[in-house]
Symmetry: C2
Subunit: 306 residues, 2 copies
């Protein structure tokens, strides 16, 4: 079996590649971020393409026998996307369109796409189910993910590919290079006596460990009987606010810094203060996450501190 | 007052420009389709820009004082979009992003966008309301409109523009250069004794006259108290299948051709066989369409036969 992973040195991508190789699957990776070259696996079944997904089709000879594309490559910095709006359009929307065109032209049948809970916006009921909710993205990043999901639907209907869309909540774990835990650890390295917390600390999210996300991306497509396109929230029914997260993180580190809140109900422009996803659909396939929120946070603190 | 109309020589655009000029509004038009140059108004309050919307910002000096953009320009040929998928992406998605960026940079506050019922896909309940329905576009064209709607939401949230999204059903009327009535009239001109009907004739849609659409696009933004973004189905609660439409059309022409069906439940790849939109939200603003389905069809037959 042969899979293609876009964004293969990214946070989730690097974990996924290792997982697939360990299962004996041949993997082609594509990424553009050379600063993360150290995360490349040294494995006989791994082939690397250093390029933007926008030029994916150029390498089509390599794709013979690929049956599934895990499409993870994306500009994913929400704060930046409000300052440079065209970037998410080019990388996420145009880039994904190239991938879908490659699938169409090269007859690759399955796409597994990592979307986001940000598509729902702020007024959705909580916990938020996958279906019956209007898209209402509050950032360019969120909008770009709505676009990609929409184009995937069209390709499923018109060209008969199969697709799984996973809307992630907050994924945390090894190789993470962004996000609240990463940010806190960096700040505490400089000064372990004080911790600046963006917003009022009351933003509530569910934190899922990357290993559970990957087990879902493997388990669900094999077990859900999808005939066209299926969309899943990937989350757990367990939530922490940012102050609680800071408490767990500091307890794991054995320190007690003073918290300084920057104030306001959100961390940055485009942030969604409360994200509670209904994961009933994913759980109904038999997928079982192993770590609750606190366990995922503690493990991530250890992994990122190594 | 000064408005900008993209797609100003298109079907709806050309009707809208005339309407706005008649109301004493200064209009800047932008379009790329020189084959429709004859539809340009000869009016002192009208300025024309012949270019793609992708280069809109180049003309920003012209936009001083523009408060509203009617964004109608789009690749809108569903059948063609399945053959050349990248076209809708470039023209509709990238093009609209340029417009939104122009609004952000030039401080233009209001956008009125013509979307489509095609965003809903085929499994939506009927009549289909605007809210609580998953996007499930069955064509590249539909997907591109989902993208644009998503980016509009992000711009409303992040940059504070106001937007009205109108999802049209089948709009018909003067200056139409595509669609079932146009197609039938052309075929009957060649041979008034036979009429080829794509599909099985059972596709059901609501046909709204362009004059009623334009009255909605004028009335609703002034009367709905929108604080950010509002989405409306523009349709009437009156439906005809394609055979009924052919009957009305032929009756209006005074001919009785033999119908030849090409078969299948849809006219082309990406067609949605049954479209019934719930227009309750639009009607609740006080908007009153003047023509029912049959009247709209008869008037369009007369207008296109002139």
């Amino acid at each position: 079996m042969k899979n293609l992973v876009t964004g293969c040195v990214g946070f989730i991508g690097s974990n996924l590649v290792e997982y697939l190789l360990n299962k004996g699957i041949e993997v082609i990776g594509i990424d553009i971020d050379k600063s993360r070259e150290h995360l490349l696996p040294d494995h006989k079944n791994f082939t690397m393409i250093w390029d933007s997904i926008r030029y994916l089709d150029y390498y089509h000879e390599t794709f013979k026998g690929v049956d599934t594309i895990y499409h993870l490559a994306a500009a994913s910095d929400i704060a930046r996307s409000s300052i440079n709006p065209a970037y998410d359009l080019a990388e996420n929307v145009v880039g994904t369109h190239v991938i879908l065109e490659t699938m169409r032209k090269r007859n690759i049948k399955n796409m597994i796409f990592t979307s986001t809970s940000v598509v729902y916006g702020e007024d959705a009921p909580r916990p938020t189910p996958e279906s019956g909710i209007d898209f209402d993205p509050t950032s360019q990043y969120g909008a770009s993910k709505c676009c990609v999901e929409s184009f995937i639907h069209a390709y499923v209907h018109v060209y008969g590919i199969k697709a799984w869309i996973f809307r992630f909540g907050n994924v945390i774990g090894r190789n993470q290079h962004r996000g609240v835990i990463y940010d806190f650890l960096n700040k505490l390295k400089v000064n372990p006596k004080e911790l600046e917390i963006l917003g009022d600390g009351k933003q509530i999210k569910s934190y899922v460990h990357v290993s559970d996300c990957i087990s879902a991306m493997d388990w669900i497509p094999k077990n859900d009987g999808n005939k066209g396109v299926e969309t899943y929230n990937l989350a757990i029914h367990d939530y922490k606010n940012v102050t609680e997260l800071a408490d767990i993180l500091c307890d794991e580190l054995g320190i007690k810094p003073k918290y300084n809140y920057t104030g306001g109900d959100r961390g940055w422009v485009g942030d969604v203060p409360i994200v509670m996803l209904d994961a009933t659909k994913a759980l109904s396939t038999g997928w079982k996450p192993k770590l609750n929120c606190e366990e995922a946070i503690r493990r991530t603190v250890r992994e990122l501190s190594e």
